[in-house]
């Protein structure tokens, strides 16, 4: 179906943007053959997206830049060829799946691309059917794309470009906004396309999904700094950290033990057994004991038999009851559309229950004005850009407390405290829109912290951030928790849940199907399967030896090592 391609080559590619002036790529070279999946990883601003956009012509045809070097499709140079001219050969799937769907039903969406290329009507019909079959969406042909899940939307985006019969598909962080099931669906689709002979290039933040790729390139500051088979390169922990990528748990473990370990958990368990490890030492401090004493006091928030139905939609939350105590760190997990956000928005009064009650310090939030509740229960939205508007970082932070009557020195002091807490003191006079994504995310937290809430709800606070930015954000939450703030974290990221949460609330189809300690949750295979939650490798390895280990450090401390390995 696609035009046969043998090789995509990038040779010594240089790219410099004029406005603002910045060297985006320096001497980048890589090759991708037909039937190969190549992964690219690196910190934010490393040049990953620019590289992909040079390959498909978005740069420099839509984004002006000075480019040198060569990009060859089977030996024919395409650097500088307008994106429209390459549209039938080089396709791209973006992170934002909403912005790449334009039509009112799945069939029309898939037909859009080939129609732009002038494909004959009956051939378009054939391609639509074939493309939907390849991504497993045939049954949803008449569905409105807006009604699909995140994973289905990304598969639809893929079907839409498959119908254009490309030879190369570029995935620009296409899995970032997906829940775990969506990611699994996406990578299963990639594997199928790979076997069909397409050349695939995927920019990723996590190493696990691309361990099976043919090659991995690590980028930093516009250059490729390391490359090789993912399973080999993943063992270079220093290279990963230098490139702002979270290293594989088992690679970190191998380095700590100074042994060679395979990256598959089951194989690593066997390897450790062969090295003489037969058990893990009992926990000195189990997960339950990490629960702050204040959490056992009277709850701050009590939800009783909460149900909520959107005006002209189905019920979003059904009969949820939960109590949240002081100083807890709670992970709110579940698939996209499971009711996490709806439940969270009830906790600070943004939504009013259809039935049931939400109590804050014993008072029904339905009877308390939203601004009073918001002072106690802060809510940080997923996209920081949904709330930033002021001319400076300091003004942005001052906005909330000023609305609540703070002024003068008290307000100035509050702003300075918050700036220091989120590590933005040096950026107080900067324009919020010129901050990096990580800085904007921390600023969004700061705007809520400025109101000194006792409970902080964060909706996917690490999405779209690179590893150093994620760590900065999460360490900020640790500091807040140490000050007594209750943290409710809605997240899809298993390692964030494993390392930072003490308690898990699992939502499924609008119902709270689990509420308990992290240790209980991750030890229950049925629950994990229902939640499509795969614990990070360090935790799975610990579980294989019968103990919950949240981090590599905990795992190393718990390994009952033979003397020669200690």
């Amino acid at each position: 179906m696609s035009v046969a391609l043998r090789r995509l080559e990038v040779r010594a590619l240089e790219c410099r943007f004029a406005d603002p002036p910045a060297q985006a790529l320096t001497g980048v070279s890589l090759t991708v053959d037909a039937g190969e999946l190549v992964a690219i990883m690196g910190e934010s601003g490393a040049g990953k997206s620019t590289l992909l956009r040079c390959v498909n012509g978005l740069v420099p045809s839509l984004v002006p830049a000075a480019c040198e070097g060569e990009i060859l499709l089977d030996g024919a140079g395409v650097l500088g060829v307008p994106v429209g001219m390459l549209a039938g050969r080089v396709a791209m799937v973006f992170q934002d799946f909403e912005a790449q769907l334009f039509s009112t039903n799945v069939r029309l969406e898939v037909a859009f691309g080939p129609a732009q290329l002038g494909v004959a009507p009956y051939e378009i019909e054939r391609r639509v059917a074939a493309a939907l079959a390849r991504v497993g969406l045939t049954d949803l042909v008449a569905r409105d794309p807006r009604a699909l899940s995140g994973g289905q939307k990304q598969r639809l985006a893929i079907a839409s470009i498959l119908a254009m019969a490309p030879a190369v598909i570029l995935f620009d962080e296409a899995a970032t906004d997906l829940d775990p099931v969506g990611r699994q669906e996406l990578y299963a689709t990639l594997q199928r396309l790979r076997t069909e002979g397409l050349a695939l290039v995927a920019v990723e933040h996590e190493i696990d999904p691309v361990l099976g790729a043919d090659r991995l390139y690590l980028m930093r500051a516009g250059a490729i700094v390391a490359s090789g088979p993912p399973a080999v390169l993943a063992c270079d922990v220093d290279a990963f950290l230098a490139c702002g990528v979270r290293p594989h748990d088992l690679a970190v473990l191998a380095r700590r033990l100074d042994v060679e370990l395979p990256l598959a958990v089951e194989d690593a368990v066997e390897a450790l057994r062969r090295l003489g490890v037969s058990r893990l030492l009992p926990a000195t401090k189990d997960a339950a004991s990490r629960r702050p004493a204040a959490a056992d006091g009277p709850p701050i928030l009590e939800v009783e038999h909460l149900s909520y139905r959107y005006a002209d939609g189905p019920g979003a939350v059904h009969d949820v009851s939960v109590a949240i105590g002081a100083g807890e760190v709670i992970a709110l997990i579940g698939r996209n559309g499971s009711g996490k956000t709806t439940l969270a928005k009830h906790l600070n009064g943004l939504l009013r229950a259809t039935s049931g009650t939400v109590r804050l310090d014993g008072a029904d939030v339905a009877t308390v004005p939203l601004d009073r509740v918001a002072q106690q229960v802060g809510y940080v939205f997923q996209n920081p850009d949904d709330q930033l508007f002021a001319a400076t970082v300091a003004d942005e932070i001052a906005f909330g407390p000023r609305n609540f009557g703070l002024a003068g020195d008290v307000l100035t002091t509050r702003v300075e405290e918050v700036l220091a807490a989120v590590g933005l003191a040096e950026r107080r006079d900067a324009d919020p829109f010129l901050l990096s994504k990580g800085e904007r995310q921390r600023l969004a937290v700061a705007t809520v912290l400025a109101m000194a809430p006792r409970v902080l709800i964060l909706d996917e606070p690490t999405t779209g951030l690179d590893y150093p930015q994620q760590r900065q954000m999460l360490e900020l939450l640790v500091r807040l928790r140490a000050r007594g703030t209750t943290i409710v974290l809605a997240t899809h990221s298993p390692w964030v849940v494993a390392e930072y949460a003490e308690r898990v609330l699992l939502m499924h189809a609008g119902r709270l199907v689990f509420d308990g300690p992290l240790a209980t949750f991750v030890a229950d295979a049925t629950l994990l399967q229902a939640a499509a939650f795969e614990p990070p490798p360090a935790m799975r390895l610990g579980l294989a030896f019968g103990r919950v280990t949240r981090t590599v450090d905990e795992l190393v401390a718990a390994l009952d090592l033979p003397t020669r390995l200690r």
């Binding site: 994106v83 549209a87 934002d96 029309l108 002209d312 949904d386």
Partner: protein, 256 residues
């Protein structure tokens, strides 16, 4: 929350050819526009309501009841009060309120007809119909994209409003200029977010070949059938009838 006006049903009106529906809507608008006496306008109002029921499109009218209801009441009141009363026009007495009622029915009929069209026609069909009537592809695409994006921007605006309410923003306090100033924290993020989204959509469109320079095609589309011709013929006949009334000077309270 459903923000689109299209209602996916399998009614006879949904199945009509988009060009036939667009042509019928234009003729229906024109017929409604010609007269101002409620007696000849009422059958058109009834006709569009019957068609709305047949197309299962009443939910749209219900969703917009806060517009539909006030438009009727205010139009009736205002045009009754400001009846133009021309020299040689209908005698005073019932004329002002009949004129007000006629104007109210006329506006409601326009509204209901437009809603019925949007309830039974996807934006892609709308674009196809515009193209068939000679509107350039890009202009038609912009129109359809606008329809598609209105719900997206509304959703985005509602999220921003929620985010700012969580920071104590209150639109109900203060004088008018203070209230207007309070919209800045909403308008700026919506505007900036809109620009960013437009950028991403432009990239996605280009990748899908929007500027490939080739002659555009589309999925096979059935030709107009007897039902389509019947629709246009019925509405066309009504249009001719109303033009005749207009030319005869009947059906008008204020003479033309």
């Amino acid at each position: 929350m459903a923000l689109s006006l299209y209602i996916d049903r399998a009614s006879p009106l949904h199945r009509r050819h988009p060009v036939a529906k667009l042509a019928a809507m234009i003729l229906f608008f024109a017929a409604t526009f010609l007269l101002d006496d409620p007696v000849p306008i009422a059958p058109l109002t009834v006709a569009v309501l019957v068609a709305t029921a047949a197309a299962h499109a009443f939910p749209n009218l219900w969703r917009l009841r806060w517009i539909v209801g006030p438009v009727f009441v205010f139009t009736l009141a205002i045009w009754t009060l400001f009846y133009p009363a021309p020299a040689g026009g209908a005698a005073a007495g019932t004329a002002p309120w009949r004129f007000g009622l006629g104007m109210a029915l006329k506006l409601e009929t326009f509204l209901a007809t437009g809603l019925l069209f949007l309830a039974t026609t996807t934006v892609e069909e709308f674009a196809f119909a515009l193209r068939s009537l000679g509107v350039p592809y890009r202009a038609g695409f912009v129109v359809t994209l606008a329809f598609r994006l209105v719900p997206v921007f509304l959703e985005s605006a509602l999220t921003v409003v929620d985010a700012q309410r969580c920071r104590g923003l209150d639109f109900t306090r203060g004088r008018v200029h203070q209230r207007i100033a309070r919209y800045v924290p909403v308008i700026v993020p919506v505007f900036i977010g809109g620009l960013r989204r437009a950028d991403r959509m432009a990239f996605a469109l280009e990748v899908r070949g929007f500027s490939s320079g080739r002659r555009r095609t589309g999925l096979p589309r059935p030709a107009a059938n007897a039902g389509d011709w019947l629709l246009v013929a019925v509405v066309g006949a009504a249009f001719v009838g109303y033009v005749t009334l207009w030319m005869l000077g009947t059906g008008r309270i204020v003479p033309r």
